[in-house]
Amino acid sequence: MTAAPTIHIVDDDASFRTSMSRLLRASGYQTTLYESGDAFLKQPPDDNAGCILLDLQMSGVQGLELQEHLARIGNILPIIFLTAHGDIRGSVQAIKAGAEDFLPKPVSREALFECVDRALARNVEQRQQQDRLSAMRSLAARLTPREAEVFSLVVRGKLNKQIAHELGTSVRTIKAHRQAVMEKLDVKSIAEAVSIAERLGMLAE
């Protein structure tokens, strides 16, 4: 969890790639280099800490396509696009697809560092959020199937009587299940339980 973040540079221009990496490394960042989007997909990073510096215009798999692809596979690494001046169409598309930031080429050192740091900070935040979420998931995983059923009905605001009727059992039994759920999820109020259910995406169904 505390591994040093890596900056993944994806640019088909070797010279630019190298220089960027050189600058970042000299300033204490870790970098990995990819000569194309394909190369990045072939060997995706196994660590979630860091960000991606992605050239918007490349031959082969282009920046936007890579962004799309990464989004599909649940990438949480923020993407900073590197773009030439004036490519408005590409930039708009990238923002819509959730790009973290934009950097024009050539970019000043200060702007680069500021942008990278911001992205990394967000990455940290996202990773913490993700950690919390996985903790909740592991709590929820401890529920028995019957408890899970009761949990989903409770967070939807059903009364014990309704739940007992729905599940074909007694209110008393439901109360016991309910107690077990509160304990297993380590919550003290229904509101807390609802919040967990929401984060786990159960309410969207």
């Binding site: 010279s15 050189r22 215009q57 080429k105 050192r109």
Partner: protein
């Protein structure tokens, strides 16, 4: 010395008769002669006429009399005349030789064939006849002619009459003074014979009243050769008066008819005379005796005598000068204005002037020439205008190609900016890294060295991109040279690749192994390729994801190279395959419609051809051929 006119000779003087008729007449004449010879007398015997000459027959001017009289006689009475001619040569002999035997001879000759008429020409013949007629030809009428009237002494015989010229020397000399008023000296050409000396006297008397106006030089005592020398060196304001030249002072007879032409050739002054024998042969002219006219009258009188009239009853007044006649050529030669001539004058031998004779031809030719000149001027003017227009149009074309290049580059500006920003960005990053590294101690020298090398490399790369663009956009004069097709395509690829990358188009070019060069401006060739490339890329905008563009080059014959730009786009509707090369024809929303048109113009400018076709499996192919700079061996 009597010559009888042969029948043939006679009939040949009848120009009006045809050939067949002539032959019949000859036969008839011969028969008639035979008949006369046998019978001695004839019912229809022809009139016997003797033409008695004083001098040799061809002796001018009397030869003119005989010639004219002969002709007139045969024309007036062709069948009735049996003409004999005889010549009294004694007149030319010095010391009056005895002419008795000649008279006896004639008497004997015509004893049995009495003459019907004798015509004597010149004084000696008439005197001879007058002396002997009582004895030999008592009944034969005599017609005297060929002598000046003052030389004639009539015998008073009833059988004698005359037709004589009268020479007015004063009038003749006055004519010279009238025609050439400045004349101061007149050289009189006269022979040395007694008769000619007589005429010298007569002329002297006639000209006496003009003595104060004009001086006379007499040639009587000169040989003809001396005369020629004299007339060649006459002082200015001189004239020559040709009297007569029977025998010159050297005793040489001048009777060959060449006298006047030779005089004329030698003389530096105009020549005049009193009779028209030599008119047309160098005489200026004036009032002159007309020998044809006198001859006509002689024959008139002869006819009347032969018809039975008594000769003495026919009185013919002396024939004076005919109306003045002038030789136009001589007038021209001596600069005599026609206005100065008396109104009755006739000007003959008028040679039509070039203008007069060829007026219409001249006008036509001149008009044609003028028209031609106008046409040529117009064409020259037109040519100058066309050249100017061509120069202007060429200028416009180059401006347009320039604009086209600018537009092309600006259309690709974002790609180009990106392309340029790569090295610039790299340089900036490297510089930043270097700064960071320098702040550390100890700084990483090896890496700094690496960084500097990279900066240098990237700078060169940026410079190259800019150089390419500048070369492509340059406005200065074209430079014609040998351009390698391989190089031109490689250069164009370098310009166009970023744009292709941006649009996700893969561009391919297989270098041809042999070096193919064309003679052209490098920029123009690049422009053709670039226009075709951009056109192809635009055609692929809506095409399948597999966008490919291929450049090909190959030698198609000894002297040509074919370059093709193939795309995998939508192709071209068949009916527009040729139209797309026209100006302002575009299928694109933002196209100028000039790209392909400019490409075609450039290709054609270098003697090539460009065309488009659809590929079998989709997409279009644009091909052009250009002549190779050196045909590959």
């Amino acid at each position: 010395m009597v010559r009888r006119q042969p029948a043939m000779f006679r009939v040949s003087r009848m120009p009006l008769l045809g050939r067949a008729k002539l032959r019949i007449l000859v036969v008839l004449a011969v028969l008639a002669l035979l008949f006369v010879a046998v019978s001695g007398d004839a019912i229809a015997a022809p009139k016997r006429v003797l033409l008695l000459h004083s001098f040799a027959q061809d002796f001018p001017p009397w030869s003119e009399y005989s010639k004219n009289i002969r002709a007139e006689l045969f024309q007036t009475m062709p069948r009735d005349i049996d003409l004999f001619e005889a010549t009294l040569e004694t007149a030319r002999m010095p010391g009056n030789p005895d002419d008795g035997p000649f008279a006896e001879y004639l008497g004997a000759l015509f004893k049995d064939r009495p003459l019907d008429l004798v015509i004597t020409i010149a004084a000696p013949a008439s005197k001879f006849f007058q002396r002997h007629r009582q004895r030999l030809f008592p009944k034969t009428p005599l017609l005297v002619t060929g002598m000046e009237q003052r030389l004639y002494v009539t015998s008073g015989d009833a059988n004698e009459t005359s037709v004589l010229p009268a020479i007015d020397f004063q009038a003749a000399i006055k004519n010279i003074l009238q025609v050439l008023p400045t004349t101061e000296r007149i050289a009189i050409v006269l022979g040395a014979s007694p008769l000619e000396r007589y005429w010298k006297e007569q002329i002297g008397i006639a000209v006496e009243p003009l003595r104060d106006r004009v001086a006379l030089t007499w040639f009587n005592d000169l040989s003809f050769e001396e005369m020629l020398k004299q007339v060649a060196n006459l002082p200015p304001k001189s004239a020559v008066f040709f009297g007569a030249l029977a025998v010159d002072a050297a005793g040489v007879p001048q009777n060959d008819g060449k006298v006047l032409p030779r005089l004329r050739a030698a003389s530096n002054a105009p020549i005049f005379s009193f009779e028209d024998t030599n008119f047309g042969a160098g005489l200026v002219g004036g009032p002159m005796l007309s020998i044809p006219e006198i001859s006509r009258r002689v024959v008139d009188v002869a006819a009347r005598i032969l018809a039975g009239e008594t000769a003495a009853n026919i009185r013919t007044p002396a024939v004076g000068f005919a109306a003045p006649r002038f030789d136009w050529r001589e007038l021209q030669r001596w600069g005599i204005e026609e206005a100065i001539l008396s109104p009755a004058s006739a000007v003959e031998f008028r040679q039509p002037t070039f203008w007069g004779e060829h007026r219409w031809a001249i006008i036509t030719i001149a008009s044609v020439l003028l028209l031609q000149a106008v046409l040529i001027s117009a064409l020259l003017f037109e040519r100058v205008r066309r050249r100017r227009a061509e120069a202007a149009s060429r200028q416009r074309f180059f401006e347009m190609t320039q604009m086209n290049r600018s537009l092309t580059v600006s259309a690709m500006s974002s790609s180009i900016a990106h392309e340029l920003n790569q090295p610039l960005g790299a340089i900036l990053n490297n510089a930043g890294a270097a700064e960071v590294l320098l702040a550390k101690s100890p700084p990483d020298i090896d890496q700094l060295r690496e960084i500097l090398a990279d900066i240098r490399k990237d700078d060169a790369r940026a410079g190259e991109i800019i150089g390419h663009l500048r070369g492509f956009l340059r406005t200065n004069e074209r430079s014609l040279g040998e351009v390698s097709i391989n190089r031109a395509i490689a250069d164009v690829l370098q310009i166009v690749e970023p744009e292709a990358a941006k649009r996700g188009i893969a561009i391919n070019y297989d270098h041809v192994p042999q070096e193919l060069s064309v003679r052209a401006d490098h920029v123009h060739l690049q422009q053709v390729l670039l226009n075709l490339a951009l056109n192809g890329m635009d055609a692929m905008t809506d095409a399948t994801p597999n966008r490919r563009m291929v450049f090909q080059a190959s030698q198609v014959s000894d002297a040509k190279v074919e370059v093709a730009v193939l795309d995998s786009g939508t192709g071209i509707p068949e009916h527009r395959l040729t139209e797309i090369f026209d100006s302002f024809v575009t299928t694109k929303q933002h196209g100028t419609g000039l790209g392909l048109s400019i490409a075609r113009t450039i290709v054609e400018m270098y003697g090539g051809k460009i065309w488009a076709e659809n590929r079998q499996h989709g997409g279009a192919a644009f091909r052009f051929v250009l002549p190779l700079a050196r045909s590959a061996a």
